[in-house]
């Protein structure tokens, strides 16, 4: 929320190439709007990974299940904040919930978010942890005792029957949760994809590409976190699990890359009016971000690394290193993807005749410091959650090394 004209507009005017409509000099959707789809993408992706265990019965991935759920929750809790901080009138944000204008895709936010948070994620976590919460509520001393009891909603039944009900509930919720996760992140893709005024965004593929890159980033994040959390606990890593997650990551990257390549080839081949300015946009403004960061480092190198890990039957330590590296590169790549879509779409004029510049502030509500804070906050929350709700089930045998 800025009370005065942004001070750098005169400077930006000097950096304009070609002709832009005079109102376009100000870039409206800043780094915060890059962070939002990045965060919800991680939520959707982590949840999809978790659903592999419950819906598709991929048992090898079980060790990451609880971590994936908690990761999804941590990121979901932080997700509304970049949006809130970006608004011109934060104090009116509740209008979207109370009196939404139904023809707007953005108006869906309140309902989709609330449904996913409460109806899917919190509910699933509750059913998954309920038995353990009851047990911990009995074992621990106050004040934690009361925390666990409150979290379990003061339930006491941990009979076989109740636990079986819990398991069934988790499965049902996950099945409903998969399309809900698609909606949570897909609607953001639709927000961009339905803007006919902007040819960089306007595409039928946009929601699908958004979703696939979300799945890639989510799986990569859980892979990364599983390795970090397990190592911090000095526990052995389950290599079968890691290999399985890495192979799903590989499939996801292949699909995501194919979709993005399809979009690119289609645009080039169709050669609509906007293709000239978009080509200029890529070569002048987005070359490093798109070609180097998003495609090369973010997709092609991790793809090669994952292929190498699979085919070469490298020893576990090398595989761990390769997985770790590709997970980090993928995060970088997907963040670049979001940047290239959001910021990239605002760097060329709708007159198709010019290019603008975006200067990210350092301080201020929409600055780099705030962004870093928003990106770190979910990890802080996750730390608390992982301490409070450990992944290891009550009564479960310790994990055997692979």
């Amino acid at each position: 929320m800025i009370a005065q004209v942004p001070p750098n507009l005169a400077e930006l005017l000097g950096q304009v190439i070609g002709y832009i409509y005079p109102n376009e000099i100000e870039i409206h959707w800043s780094i915060l709007i890059v962070v939002y789809p990045y965060l919800t993408g991680l939520v959707a992706g982590a949840f999809i990974l978790a659903s592999l265990v419950k819906v598709f019965s991929v048992k090898e991935v079980q060790p990451t299940y609880r971590l994936a759920l908690l990761t999804a929750l941590s990121f979901l809790l932080v997700a509304p904040f970049p949006l809130l901080l970006h608004l011109g009138h934060m104090e009116r944000s509740f209008e979207i919930f109370l009196a939404p204008h139904l023809s707007s895709a953005m108006a869906m936010f309140g309902f989709v978010y609330a449904w996913y948070l409460m109806g899917i994620l919190l509910l699933e976590i509750w059913f998954e942890y309920r038995h353990d919460l009851v047990v911990w509520g009995r074992e621990h001393k106050p004040p934690l005792r009361w925390v666990y009891r409150a979290l379990s909603l003061f339930s006491t039944d941990i009979s076989e029957r109740a636990v079986a009900f819990d398991r069934k509930a988790v499965r049902t919720i996950t099945i409903v949760g998969i399309p809900s996760a698609f909606l949570l992140h897909g609607y953001v893709g639709f927000i961009f994809g339905s803007i006919k005024a902007n040819p960089w965004w306007s595409s039928v593929l946009m929601p699908i590409v958004f979703l696939m890159s979300a799945i890639v980033s989510g799986i990569a994040l859980v892979l990364f976190l599983y390795m970090v959390v397990t190592s911090l606990r000095n526990e052995p890593l389950d290599m079968k699990c890691l290999d399985r997650v890495a192979s799903y990551l590989f499939y996801a990257v292949v699909v995501d890359f194919s979709l993005e390549a399809l979009d690119f080839i289609h645009r080039l081949y169709q050669s609509e009016e906007s293709v000239k300015i978009l080509a200029q946009l890529i070569s002048v403004k987005l070359f490093t971000n798109l070609v180097i960061l998003q495609v090369l480092l973010g997709m092609l190198v991790p793809l090669a690394v994952l292929v190498a890990a699979r085919t070469r039957r490298a020893n576990p330590d090398l595989r761990k290193l390769l997985y770790f590296t590709s997970a980090i590169l993928i995060q970088l790549g997907i963040f670049s993807t979001r940047w290239n879509v959001v910021i990239g779409g605002q760097l060329f004029s709708k007159s198709f005749r010019g290019l603008m510049a975006y200067k990210m502030e350092m301080t201020g509500l929409e600055g780099l410091v705030t962004t870093l804070g928003l990106l770190i906050a979910p990890f802080v929350i996750l730390l608390v959650l992982v301490r409070l709700l450990p992944a290891k089930r009550v009564g479960e045998a310790p994990v055997h090394p692979a």
Binding site: A99, L153, D157, A162
Partner: protein, 244 residues
Amino acid sequence: MKLPEQVTRIVAVLALIVALVLLVRFVLIPPAYFSTTVHESATVRREVARPVNFAGAVACQDCHAEEWDRKAQGYHKGLACEACHGPSARHAEDPMSVKPFAPRDRKFCPVCHAYDAARPTGFPQINPESHNPLKPCITCHNPHDPVPPETPKECAACHAQIARTVALSAHALLPCATCHTASKEHRIAPRSALPSKPQTREFCGQCHAGGTANPDAPKVELASHGGGYLCWQCHYPHLPEGRP
């Protein structure tokens, strides 16, 4: 069948949330908040209540009938008073205490009348640096009836872009009257008495057909060159062949 205790607890929480939402939606927030009609009409009222700064040309007529009538006959008849005198709604409300701006500076009139190639043909344009430098425009031109003190002799007064183009071309030394006949009426009421354009190929042939007249002009065989078209349908006489 006994309901599992998980379900009762979840339903209880759900009921609480639903109750809260309903409370807020239907009790705590006034119903007018949700009505688009209320908001739209309030917005319209707010917009309509904004102050008016330009009185509108018609408002000037009541008190300034003499200037109005004079302007209505001349070249500035389509020009609203406030285009030069600025927003004058306060003056219209209280004529004695608020006076509108009256442009006297030489920088003012060139905003419209300085030469700009994109300005339409026939719009009077001058070069402010060379057109009676240092003299205020109103010395010779009454803004309410801006007829120039002398009828312009040069066509360039209104056809500046064409004049500048011809000056670069092979036809630079030809006066406009060589090919165009403009009556006296044209200088006073331009759109009602248009100048003529050559209507025969032979006209251009006076210099450009084979023969002895004007040996510097490029020659063509009139009978076989260019089909049935008039010369200027392909060649731009103000800049023949694009470059001198």
